[in-house]
């Protein structure tokens, strides 16, 4: 847009007048172009997905007026559609600028001091009367690492409750438990750099072209440059990602466990496995009793081969509808390429068998030795910018302690109690409430105070309606730290705290490839909005003072800024598999991200883990080790697990009454619950509303045409949407985007969850369709 001088003058005058009375005005698009170059460019990271693209924000007159990709970072200067429009999220008209308290059914403006006083009174009262397990915190993979670490310390270490969980429970928990159960430690061993070396890509349960566009760009670049690069895309929808695929494997939703076992069957029968790798590095396991706790048995190669007998490609075709010939072709390409890289995302994770299906992808890499070499790796894509760094690594899940430590492990608890300077026994041995359990506990009234920060469960929880009732109930005091108001969660709150957003505060993000990056503060937050970390520190000190533990608070919670927290975090990671002592704040300010482990200040970071060529920790664990050493699996003599995981379908498959499978997912324009992207006029215009994606054959069956209205009903709810008739989903499958607050698609989804990861099955539920 070209802004005329007259328009610019009018805008400037309005801005000056607004500033004089303390109001913030949104910046119209094109201000940067009209006003010339920004005064400065500030280095940071994109606010959206877990790809973690390096971004510079252009600042002029105290406002972010432009963004550009960081050419020196992994993304080579490229941004996606959403990233390109980042400045507008800071200046949306619904930015919350001061605390709000619900009084007499209405929100009224209050001071920060009053807000903190009310909040501390409620939490203190609840703890005094009902114990520390009556309060809970629900955090986010979008909070900075320093924020997540600090609040974890307050709850698990200070208050002695493990009722602290985060929204990565809804998106990454199955990937995390998948890595831990196979490799002994969480997080991928590989990196985006593997894309440059892979000859075969196996992409399953991921629409990268829309959900992780800049990673997809790298894969496409590799495809264009590499002579014989093959791309296998396994997805019940033929998405935009499939445009670059050599083989698109479509299958009945929820039957991919059978397909993955059948690929292993082909690899074994055709002797395409790497015998030496299997012999040296793996063991075989099966679960004989799901528990809890699950009872696991070690088995041998022969048992595994026998187990695979049931999964011939023909048998898998019967279960999945995926042609046997495609399964055979995929298995051969996977096993025989010079280097195979797998990618997956929510299509595998958001499932009642999420962990199992993760294990089955790892199995293929371990069988074929397609791992720990350039281009050969098993790589989970991440949905949020700091799900890995802040929540999985930092331990903001109810069963975790920071940096690979577990609540249920006595030695780990003792270690953290000593590190934090706590009395022995302070950290409770029983894991706390996971996300869905936490909101059930709100419904039952057992959780009396809940603090939700940087996330929107009032829209994003599966089967959301009953949980909305619980959040709205007077039985629970709900505090919501939010950037915008109202959201579908803040509208239910008793107290809403205005939060600084993205480059209005500083902190550390850790993304999918173990790359940690520092986001520098570029501008001030509007009005009275504050960084969540500062609010958390204030809250902790006030609460402990109210509880008569002022001295303890001084010892535990006296931080002046995020760098002081970061320095403690570095120490906490020291000596663990995550070791990032070498990532000083000064170094992080200059670097374009560093990948852990990075134990010393002269260490360049680790592109690939578990191999002596790249990973310094291998020699630390075993000075004689050469090549691969899976040191995460110490309990099994550094051998990782090939799991016998039988096929099991979804919790709610289609049936006669509800004959269609519904899946939910992303559009490139929007992110999560749309609180940010739907405020960007261009993104809103490009993708204005939810729809029901249905193929022409199914549309004809129910007698609906493109843009006609359809009533979608599951066992939990009903919504009416416009039909988008395109030949993308397979027969019997319909799709809806997840982003729109006025279209609560999670009124339909099921809250059944994986028994191991506790992650819900957003991706599959049964629905019926009627033309309206």
């Amino acid at each position: 847009m070209k802004l005329t001088r007259r328009e610019l003058m009018k805008y400037s005058a309005a801005l000056a007048a607004a500033s004089a009375i303390g109001l913030e005005l949104p910046l119209p698009r094109g201000v940067a172009a009209a006003a010339g170059e920004p005064d400065k460019w500030v280095k940071g990271v994109c606010r959206y997905c877990g790809a973690g693209c390096g971004v510079y924000t252009g600042v002029k007159g105290g406002k972010v007026v432009a963004v550009k990709g960081d050419k020196e970072n992994w993304n080579k200067g490229f941004l996606c559609l959403k990233g390109n429009f980042l400045p507008a999220i800071l200046y949306a008209p619904d930015r919350l600028q001061y605390p709000l308290l619900r009084k007499g059914g209405k929100f009224v403006r209050i001071s920060w001091d009053e807000a903190m006083t009310v909040m501390v009174d409620k939490f203190h009262d609840s703890i005094r009367k009902n114990g520390p397990n009556s309060v809970a915190f629900y955090g986010s993979g979008q909070a900075y690492t320093e924020e997540s670490y600090f609040i974890n310390k307050v709850f698990k270490g200070g208050l002695g409750t493990n009722n602290i969980d985060g929204n990565p429970r809804l998106c990454m928990a199955s990937a995390a438990v998948g890595y831990v159960s196979t490799f002994g430690k969480d997080e991928p061993m590989g990196a985006y750099d593997d894309i440059n070396h892979a000859e075969c890509f196996f992409i399953i349960g991921s629409n990268m072209a829309e959900a992780h566009p800049v990673i997809f760009r790298l894969v496409n670049e590799r495809k264009q440059k590499g002579k014989d690069v093959k791309i296998i895309m396994a997805d019940p929808r033929k998405t935009l990602s499939a445009r670059i695929a050599d083989l698109h494997m479509s299958f009945t939703p929820g039957t991919d466990l059978a397909i993955l076992n059948a690929m292993a069957h082909v690899i074994v029968k055709e002797k395409l496995y790497d015998q030496a790798f299997v012999d040296k590095h793996t063991i075989f396991k099966t679960m004989v009793d799901p528990g809890p706790p699950p009872k696991i048995k070690k088995v041998v190669w022969g048992d595994y081969v026998k187990f695979l007998d049931d999964y011939t490609p023909e048998a898998a075709e019967k279960i999945s509808g995926c042609p046997a010939a495609e399964i055979v072709k995929a298995a051969r390409w996977f096993a025989t390429s010079k280097a195979t890289m797998s990618f997956w995302c929510m299509g595998l994770n958001q499932r009642t068998r999420g962990v199992w299906v993760n294990n089955l992808v790892h199995n293929l890499h371990l069988l074929t030795g397609q791992i720990c070499r350039p281009g050969a790796t098993s790589f989970s894509l991440t949905g949020q910018p700091n799900a890995c760094g802040g929540v999985r690594d930092g331990g903001l899940l109810s069963h975790l302690l920071p940096y690979g430590r577990l609540v249920a492990n006595a030695a780990h608890r003792e270690e953290m109690e000593k590190f934090w300077g706590l009395p022995a026994g302070r950290i409770q041995p029983k894991p706390g409430l996971t996300a869905m359990e936490m909101f059930k506990s709100v419904n039952s009234g057992a959780t009396r105070c809940l603090w939700v920060a940087c996330t929107n469960p009032g829209q994003s929880l599966p089967n959301v309606d009953p949980y909305r009732k619980g959040m709205a109930s007077d039985d629970t005091f709900l505090v919501v730290s939010e950037t915008y108001h109202p959201t579908r969660t803040s509208e239910l709150a008793d107290l809403v705290l205005p939060a600084a957003l993205w480059v209005e505060k500083d902190g550390t993000y850790g993304q999918s490839e173990r790359r940690y990056q520092y986001v520098e503060k570029a501008v001030n937050p509007p009005g009275e909005a504050r960084p969540d970390l500062m609010v958390m520190i204030d809250f902790a000190n006030r609460l402990f003072t109210a509880m008569g533990r002022k001295e303890e608070a001084k010892r535990l919670f006296s931080y002046k800024n995020s760098e002081e927290v970061w320095n403690e975090i570095r120490l906490c990671s020291k000596g663990t598999a995550y070791d990032f002592m070498g990532m000083t704040r000064a170094r992080m300010k200059k670097a374009h991200g560093l990948q852990w482990p990075c134990p010393t200040e002269d260490h360049p970071g680790t592109v690939r883990r578990y191999t002596s060529e790249y990973d310094v920790l291998v020699k630390q664990q075993d000075p004689k080790a050469e090549g691969v050493l899976f040191y995460g699996a110490k309990a099994d003599n550094n051998r990782v697990s090939i799991w016998l995981r039988p096929h099991k379908g979804p919790a709610e498959p289609p049936d006669a009454e509800y004959p269609f499978a519904l899946t939910t997912g992303r559009q490139i324009e929007h992110w999560h619950t749309g609180t940010m992207t739907l405020k960007v006029p261009e993104l809103k215009r490009s993708a204005p509303d939810a729809y029901l994606e249905i193929n022409p054959r199914d549309a004809a069956k129910i007698g609906v045409k493109n843009k006609e209205k359809v009533r979608v009903t599951s066992r939990r709810g009903t919504i009416v949407l416009e039909a988008k008739v395109v030949d993308v989903p397979r027969d019997g499958l319909v799709f809806m985007p997840m982003h729109y607050p006025d279209r609560m698609i999670n009124s339909l989804t099921t809250d059944a969850f994986d028994a191991l990861s506790k992650q819900p099955e957003f991706k599959i539920c049964a629905v019926k369709l009627e033309k309206v």
């Binding site: 847009m1 550009k68 996606c80 324009e669 490009s686």
Partner: protein, 125 residues
């Protein structure tokens, strides 16, 4: 004859301006109307090009249908991903070419042919 040539020349000069002027304000569209419904040819060219494959959609260059709409995108629209190239082109203001689209086809975004752009050595990636 000369007067006729001058008249034709004037028409050629004026007509594109008139068209661009008209397109500064995009006609009002229903929210669920997609660009492709009226601009199928442009959409097809774009979709089959690199920017189409990477889903760099219409809005990046043309804005929304509100005040931000532009029929002729400026340099800033490309800066998110091509910052160096845009910076070089901005420095070169005063020369004839000021827009990425002087050298790159409007919707395929390929080089139009002829010598490489004088503004950046390798061309846009």
């Amino acid at each position: 004859m000369n007067r006729l040539l001058v008249l034709i020349g004037l028409c050629l000069l004026i007509q594109p301006q008139a068209v661009l002027g008209a397109e500064k304000n995009h006609p009002a569209t229903p929210e669920n109307q997609e660009c492709i419904e009226c601009h199928a040819d442009q959409e097809k060219t774009w979709f089959n090009g690199k920017h189409g494959l990477m889903n760099v959609k219409c809005i990046v260059c043309h804005g929304a249908m509100d005040k931000s709409f532009t029929a002729s995108p400026g340099l800033a629209a490309c800066r998110g991903c091509h910052a160096d190239e845009v910076a070089q082109a901005m420095k070169a203001k005063g020369k004839k070419e000021k827009s990425c689209f002087s050298c790159h086809d409007n919707h395929a975004l390929t080089l139009k042919g002829g010598p490489a752009s004088p503004y950046h050595a390798k061309g846009g990636k």
